[in-house]
């Protein structure tokens, strides 16, 4: 389906696809097997100017929005969701600065991010605060010209590989929803260290680690936005990042569909290629239809968000939950179409199925997404 991309958007798609084709696809199986972070590929992505897609021009970026990120992520996810996640997580990590940072702070961090010289990560989740983000226990206490942070963040994507971390910490625990603030912690800050790298079911080329803050001292100017606005910024951040995750689902499902159709045309059983059988055809038809529906919803949501509407949470959550549930189904079906071969590591679809699962979990589980949508519907119909 034609989505009427502009010439520049088309260039983004081509550039990202070329990285996938030339750099990601040849390396993805090995990175997955070795649980290795895709450093050189991220450097290629940086060289191709993709890290700057959503950074304003005045800071050296391309000046694009949510839709441009979605286009790039979809193409990268066709290669490997692990690599694409690393890229997406860096964007997620710097969004708070973009949304709420002062111009001095933006000036300090955004140019390097745009060039891909430094990568970011988002530190919200803790052992006791997953879906219930308000349950965080990391604290930030004033001490003269410094803030001192204490706590542990869990399962942070790009942990240990990023240079710039946006950490959500309680500045006024007794104030509840207004009690948190966001801080920029940099690799090398005193009292900041990393835990071991997690061994995951999928997206193994992405690095997931604990962040340990033990009397981590950072200068006062590292606070992002006003004190107490932490959770508000977090919500805004997630609103604009969800379509990115959704587009990982779209790209992944596309790759899986491509494998399934190609295979079905070649595999001969009972004297015919299996694509001639309705059972297979119907599976492929459903996969393709749901994929296209997801794509249209994700693109629509991204464009909606770029128009800076008053309400975006519902649409943002919808595209995330739909596209990621779709990706799980399509990748599972792709393994089924490839049959025994699909189960073997020699073929790429089993990895795709393993990679798909996390999309339903991170950035707000699909259960939380449904909560958001339900609550928004409730609000909408009350007006």
């Amino acid at each position: 389906m034609d989505y009427f991309l502009t010439e520049e958007q088309q260039m983004i798609v081509e550039t990202a696809w070329e990285i996938t084709r030339e750099k990601i696809i040849p390396q993805r199986a090995e990175l997955d097997e070795k649980n290795e972070f895709a450093t050189s590929i991220l450097e290629d992505i940086a060289r191709a100017d993709l890290f700057g897609i959503f950074i304003p021009e005045e800071y050296g970026g391309f000046g694009g929005g949510c839709f441009e990120i979605v286009l790039a992520l979809e193409q990268l996810a066709r290669g490997c969701v692990g690599v694409a996640t690393s890229f997406a997580a860096s964007a997620l990590g710097i969004f708070p600065v973009l949304i709420a940072g002062s111009s001095e702070m933006k000036e300090k961090y955004l140019p390097d991010i745009a060039e891909g010289k430094r990568w970011a990560a988002f530190g919200l989740t803790e052992a006791n605060a997953g879906s219930d983000a308000s349950g965080i226990q990391t604290t930030a206490v004033e001490d003269g010209d410094f803030w001192v942070l204490n706590g542990t963040k869990q399962w942070i994507t790009n942990g240990g590989e990023a240079h710039v971390y946006t950490i959500v910490a309680l500045t006024d625990p007794q104030k509840g929803a207004r009690g948190a603030s966001i801080f920029v912690v940099e690799d090398g800050d005193p009292g900041f260290s990393y835990g071991k790298k997690e061994d995951k079911m999928g997206i193994r080329s992405s690095a997931t680690r604990e962040l340990i803050l033990r009397d981590c001292r950072i200068p006062k100017d590292r606070m992002v936005g006003r004190r107490g606005t932490g959770f508000i910024t977090v919500m805004k951040t997630l609103d604009i990042s969800r379509p990115g995750i959704a587009s990982l689902g779209v790209g992944l499902a596309q790759a899986a569909l491509d494998e399934a159709v190609t295979y079905a045309k070649q595999r001969v059983q009972f004297g015919k290629p299996i694509i001639s059988f309705q059972a297979i055809q119907h599976m492929l038809a459903d996969m393709a239809t749901e994929l296209e529906a997801a794509r249209a919803l994700v693109y629509g949501a991204a464009r909606h968000i770029d128009a800076h509407p008053k309400q975006m949470s519902k649409v943002s959550s919808m595209c995330k939950v739909f596209a990621t549930d779709m990706a799980m189904k399509v990748t599972t079906d792709a393994v089924q179409v490839l049959g025994g071969y699909g189960y073997m590591k020699e073929y790429p679809v089993e990895k795709m199925m393993r990679d798909a699962k996390i999309l339903q979990i991170y950035e707000g589980t699909n259960q939380i997404q449904r909560n958001v949508i339900g609550q928004e519907l409730n609000k909408e119909y009350s007006r």
Binding site: T15, I19, D49
Partner: protein, 259 residues
């Protein structure tokens, strides 16, 4: 440093098939691409410019559509692209081609380093590089698999030999033809693509480069094609049929003398 990279637009070899009916090349759907070896030459030129500063000029001799590869070169880091194109160049063999490229290079200025791919995947002669070096009176090395050092005076390279490689020090100006091992070309960047879109590709005609008619095109080609033909198939062939098992049995019978 003034760097010249010579680039050729060629048909994508893997798409080229023989049409069994007409016994000629089936041309539909065959893409034109930048000669893969030239892509590596360009990448090396861009890297050297990143190291020492200067300018990378991409030069191509070809029909008007070859402008595409020059834009691609700019997207991949070249500072400018120049096309030398003229009907009078038709039928050029490698002698006339190196003459034309040399005249174009001289028209553009003096260069410290000229980089070419080892060979073009359509002609596969690997003759233009050395010929060009000779006309520009430059030291040269072919099949360079690595540049070890480069400064304003000289370049140290690994030049492949049949038994390994030699390490050479060439004074500048020098010409290198490169093999694929020399580097991993970058993916064209977004900014590069935008620059390429807006770029003005200079086109030079035979007159613009001061080319002498006797030295270009068919007239300037000491080699001439007598005929073109398809090779004869081998005699007495046996194509087996049946299941894999049956075919293998039949083959084993025939292969007795080799076992």
């Amino acid at each position: 440093m003034e760097i010249l990279v010579c680039i050729k637009q060629v048909p994508d070899a893997k798409d080229v098939r023989l049409d069994p009916e007409t016994n000629t090349l089936a041309r539909e759907g065959v893409q034109s691409i930048m000669n893969p070896y030239d892509r590596h030459a360009l990448e090396e030129g861009v890297r050297i410019r990143e190291q020492l500063g200067g300018q990378v000029t991409a030069l191509s001799m070809g029909p008007p559509q070859a402008e595409e590869v020059l834009r691609e070169a700019i997207a991949c880091g070249a500072d400018r692209g120049v096309l030398v194109s003229d009907r009078a160049f038709a039928g050029s063999d490698t002698w006339a081609t190196s003459y034309t490229l040399a005249m174009a290079a001289r028209t553009l200025g003096t260069f410290d380093l000229v980089l070419c791919g080892k060979q073009a995947i359509d002609g596969d002669t690997a003759q233009v590089g050395p010929g060009l070096a000779c006309r520009l009176n430059m030291s040269y090395a072919t099949c360079v698999q690595k540049t070890r050092e480069v400064d304003k005076e000289a370049i140290v390279v690994e030049r492949m030999m049949d038994d390994g490689y030699d390490v050479l020090r060439l004074p500048l100006p020098a010409l290198l033809t490169v093999v694929k091992d020399i580097n991993e070309p970058r993916v064209p960047s977004l900014k590069g693509k935008m620059k390429a879109k807006k770029a003005r590709i200079t086109t030079l005609s035979a007159d613009d480069i001061g080319a002498v008619p006797e030295h270009i095109g068919l007239a300037g080609s000491p080699t001439q094609v007598v005929k073109v033909f398809t090779p004869k198939p081998r005699g007495d062939r046996m194509i087996f049929s049946g299941t894999a098992e049956e075919q293998v049995e039949q083959l084993l019978e025939q292969l007795e003398p080799y076992l």
